[in-house]
C-alpha cells in the first residue's frame, strides 16, 4: 500500500523534545515522558442503539474486546481502544492504515469513521508520580479504583482538550490536538520538574 512508501511524519514537539533527564532528577526520576507517535488514531461513532454493532466491528478488526460501560477501554501494547463519549470510541494502532481496515466495516447503518491520525498527538507519562503530575492539570480522579486500567476519559486543561487512557497501573496516554501539543508538552515537562523526569 502507498502508505508504506510515505516519509516519516514530523512531530509537533520536535524543537521542544529533549531526551534525557531533567528537573529535580538528582533525587530520582519519578516520571518518564514520551511521544508514542502511533500510525493510526481513529474516531468511531455509532448512531444511538448501534453501539453493540460498532463494538463488535472494533473487535473484528482490532481483536480488542471493549468492556461494558462508559469510558471502558483496553489496550494490548500495539493497539488500544476506549470510549470517550456516548457511542464514540478512539481506536489507536502503532501502524498506519487502520482507517482503510475499517473502511468497509463501519457502514452508514452503524455510524461514522473519522481519521485523526495527524490531528491528535499522543503523549505518554509513566512512573510512580504520574498520577501526581496529571493531577496538576486535570480535575479528574486518577486513583486506580476511580480510573481503572484501560479506561478512557475526556477532559480539559483550560483551552486544551484531552482524551486520556490509563495504559498501565502508573501510566497514562494523553491525546491532545496537534496544534496545542507543543504548548501542552512544555507545560507537562515544567510540571514534572518537581519530581524529576526523563524524556525517552
Amino acid at each position: 500500500m502507498a502508505e508504506h512508501q510515505l516519509p516519516e511524519r514530523l512531530s509537533p514537539l520536535e524543537p521542544e523534545y529533549h531526551p534525557g533527564s531533567h528537573g529535580n532528577f538528582e533525587h530520582g526520576i519519578d516520571v518518564i515522558l514520551s511521544e508514542t507517535r502511533p500510525g493510526s488514531i481513529l474516531q468511531l461513532a455509532a448512531w444511538p442503539g448501534e453501539e453493540k454493532g460498532l463494538i463488535e466491528a472494533i473487535r473484528n478488526v482490532t481483536g480488542l474486546a471493549l468492556p461494558d460501560g462508559a469510558g471502558g477501554g483496553v489496550s494490548n501494547g500495539t493497539r488500544a481502544v476506549f470510549g470517550f463519549a456516548p457511542g464514540k470510541f478512539t481506536v489507536v494502532d502503532e501502524g498506519e492504515g487502520l482507517a482503510s481496515a475499517f473502511a468497509g466495516v463501519i457502514t452508514p447503518a452503524i455510524g461514522t469513521l473519522t481519521d485523526l491520525s495527524h490531528g491528535r498527538t499522543a503523549i505518554r507519562i509513566a512512573g510512580p508520580k504520574a498520577e501526581w503530575v496529571m493531577a496538576k492539570f486535570f480535575a479528574i480522579d486518577f486513583a486506580l479504583p476511580a480510573f481503572p486500567l484501560g479506561a478512557g476519559r475526556s477532559t480539559n486543561h483550560h483551552d486544551i482538550f484531552a482524551q486520556i487512557q490509563r495504559s498501565g497501573a502508573d501510566q497514562f496516554d494523553i491525546y491532545v490536538f496537534r496544534s496545542f501539543a507543543r504548548s501542552f508538552w512544555k507545560a507537562l515537562c515544567h510540571a514534572s520538574e518537581e519530581v524529576g523526569y526523563e524524556v525517552q
Binding site: G49, G69, A70, A85, P86, K88, A139, S154
Partner: protein, 92 residues
Amino acid sequence: MLITCPYCGPRDVIEFTYQGDGNRERPQPASQNLDAWNAYVYDRLNPAGDHNEIWQHSGGCRAHLRVVRNTITHEVLRTAFARGGHRTEGRS
C-alpha cells in the same frame, strides 16, 4: 459546583458550558409565527429555585445535558442526556 455527566460522572463545572433555559420550545423550522420565534430566542424562564437547564459537557464528552439545578442553593438534582437513545450506563 459539580455536575454529574451521565457518561463521564461528576465533573467540575469548569468542564461545562451553560446553554440556558431548557424549557424553551423551538418552533417548527418553517413556522412563520414570529411571536413564537421571539419567545424562543429571547425570553427565558428565570426561576429562583429548581430550574430545567441545558448544559454542554464541552470540556469532556461534549454531550448536551438536561440538568435540573436549584438556582438558590446551586444543588444539581438531576442530569440526563439531552439527546436520548444512548444505552450507556453512567458512572457516578
